[in-house]
Symmetry: C3
Subunit: 352 residues, 3 copies
């Protein structure tokens, strides 16, 4: 047991190096020209053009989600540390899995799009990680990363290539999928009896401040996240504007409902950290469409309201754990709300 | 009273959605071509070209100013939380107000320039917010945002369109205006008797570290802030270089004067957090002009010196509250210095 | 003594302004056309094209390295504060030194490349600063900055212009040079008897979290750092991809070895903060070459392993201080490992 984690981590890295050695090569002018015949144009100029958007997404994943995970006072190290571990493994494994499906088993030519896709697959696992934060070991997380990304890549391939569904900001394939997967894993782990940790599942003043670093970088860069894969031109422009407006509107309704539901009209930091981001997820699927500026603001407003109610409702009536799944069937906006709900629900459930 | 804030926040968001529904539309090729006949060129390519600069400004507003507001140990939550609320409301209201004035009441076509302008109008309110931090309620902040942005938009329209004054980095229209407005509001609130909070108006070790996150992002991205609206080409280049050099020079004089004035030659974190940014404000108005590299360094150096003296002088001789206004008449560089001055001055004044 | 620092800082700034007045001018179309005849093309368009990369590097220097220096609980202020001071002086002095050597004493025309180069020279001093953190005065740091950058600029000129060596990510000229220089300075200061500070050379929970802000921004933006001076096109593309993959692989081996060497298989935050970055340094020199994706992953994996072993080995056998130099002769990857090693080694050495 003592050497399980080091050996598994080393073994996985060796495996990744072997897979990259077999399947992954640089992009060259040659293979870009080959691609031109079959798919969309992609040249070196496009690389540097998309690179700033890639960096926005990269900051979102490592700084944004990383610090969002630090809210538990005893798990700040784990939150940010395991986030980095999962993301680093997920990037490599995601490159392989998505590349194999996209290239039908041929050589993968790594470019900025693969790198962004790899970040996206890492995000999926990180969302699930949020649901089990503080109750899992690094070894379990390594296994979850390998399994979840394999399933995710196949699911995304189905949704995008076979069903040809529109999901610009990947709200369905990433956020809803990641949340469900995390809930399922939490359910399994709960039954297997991880029942300690009541007192540790709290935040303190400073851990909530660190979490705000995450929130603000996620909030700021979400328009990049939702628009990075939109078609250049009008669609990309709309994906940025719609996400921006949805997030802005979401802030006001989040604050309003938070104050409405909390004692003496106070604001709750948990809502501010999480529900303010619901607007970005909610508008994700249709971000590049002509839903009009006020349309995205309506979506964002509702997302904020639903998300805060979700927190409050699910936390207070923790015995109705089943309602959570039903809740998620009705909307995928409160993707983060499951995090704390699950932790609280589980330990209260076991305490009874 | 219990429901004032939630109802007002919801009401304002509903109002914004209605206004956006009536007046705001996407940019389309059609209306860009119409604009070409009358005003400056603006095409979709320009959107993505300016988008990284927009993101720099966006980080400045939400992460930079947000964390700069966390220095008070008991108001870190309020500092960063209300910052987000004001900015989100300000963005929407600023889009409407500036758009109405710029388009003479016609439909507003939202583009990256509107989004940056909206960030700028939010900044104005955030500067005023700094002057009243820890002494106001969220409801008051919502009201202040609505009033101040209306006045700001009209004032900026006067300065820029009617007087045709040059103010690239918006030092006058944003920083000086925001500081004055904040001082006025602080004066009004002071008389109305908010007299608690002595002990809470302090920083602790970690709250000062969080404030440094804000300082460093503001410092790093200030060249983007001052150059984003400069004319593409030579002027934009100069706006970046001049701001960069002014900020760099400002750091050394800030440290020197801070050590000179503090006991036993120590450095004061308040000076480092705020006076190092004075160079960016001071050079703002003339950032795109040919003031030469050493010219901007001289401006930055003086800004650092004046700003630290401003803190020290205004804090020590707190009874001469009137001097503050006179001080601001002579320079607009110590825009942040008013924050703590005001808080300290006010509570000391009431304590006497 | 009381006025040494303020007078020196002011005097240096005055000196910089005089030097900039004499030698530094804006870029103009004229001198760009002159340059075209002799060296590579560089136009205004290139300025804005490189500006986002410059900003990435700028964030790396001021936020990344700045917060990485905050890990010591009693020196968080000094870490981040002196980092800003050194960087601000280093930027100006580096512009002059590198400009004089590059332009053979003629007028320096400041452009985005000079600004990035200036950031790079500041990084060199900051690496050395890490080796003496908590044991030096600001005055000593000002002197070190002036001397080290002069030596660095000449050394870089030798390596790059005279020897024509390839060092895209500047691992040799910056990281190895900075580490050696810092070790030398630490050696000198140790002999001169700065023997206090045992208890202060520790981290606490929150100071380690602040350091993670630095780590994550360095980690995220390192591909920009290594690629910013690579030749546009294939080489720049490879510099980004190779650095990205090396860093990703480095994370897994760092975690594995950290868990292997620590008690009860726990992870050590010091390793996570520092060794995860070793991949970026290790691949720096050859980042733009065709080392293949799996090649950079192998380099990153080894860098992580060596770096964690370096920490553990050098910290445990602190009496063998001499081994450190030998260690660095064999690899330049554990550039940060010297930081804590040196501090711990020195105070334990003096305690004996």
């Amino acid at each position: 047991m003592r050497f399980t984690f080091p050996l598994m981590a080393l073994g996985l890295e060796v495996g990744m190096i072997v897979l990259f050695g077999l399947y992954v090569q640089y992009e060259t002018e040659q293979n870009i020209l080959q691609q031109l015949n079959t798919t969309k144009p992609a040249d070196m100029g496009r690389f540097l053009e998309l690179y700033p958007l890639f960096q926005d997404v990269h900051v979102t994943v490592f700084v944004g989600i990383g610090f969002l995970m630090t809210f538990l006072k005893k798990y700040s190290y784990s939150g940010i540390g395991i986030n980095l571990l999962i993301a680093a493994l997920g990037l490599q494994w995601g490159t392989i899995m998505q590349g194999v499906l996209d290239s039908y088993g041929h050589t993968i030519h790594i470019g900025v799009k693969n790198m962004i896709n790899a970040d996206f697959s890492a995000v999926t696992v990180l969302i699930s990680f949020g649901a089990v934060l503080g109750r899992t070991s690094p070894v379990q997380m390594l296994i979850m990363t390998i399994i979840e990304i394999a399933v995710f890549a196949y699911n995304e391939y189905l949704v995008g290539e076979i069903f040809q569904a529109s999901d610009t900001g990947a709200s369905m394939t990433i956020h809803a999928f990641g949340a469900y997967f995390g809930l399922a894993v939490a359910g399994i782990l709960y039954r297997s009896g991880l029942r300690r940790g009541h007192k540790n599942e709290e935040s303190v003043y400073h851990s909530d401040m660190f979490a705000m670093i995450g929130t603000l970088f996620l909030w700021t860069f979400w328009p990049s996240f939702n628009s990075v894969f939109a078609e250049a031109g009008d669609k990309q422009y709309r994906a940025i504007v719609n996400t921006y407006l949805s997030l802005v509107a979401c802030v006001l309704t989040t604050y309003a409902i938070s104050s409405l539901l909390e004692q003496r009209g106070k604001l709750n930091m948990v809502h501010i950290q999480n529900a303010t981001l619901a607007g970005g997820v909610a508008v994700g699927t249709c971000a590049d469409m002509e839903i009009q500026p006020h349309g995205s603001m309506i979506i964002g407003s509702i997302a904020g309201i639903v998300s805060v109610f979700g927190y409050k409702f699910l936390t207070d009536y923790h015995e109705h754990a089943g309602s959570c799944t039903g809740f998620f069937h009705r909307n995928s906006t409160c993707w983060r709300s499951d995090y704390r709900f699950n932790s609280k629900d589980t330990y209260l459930g076991t305490a009874i």
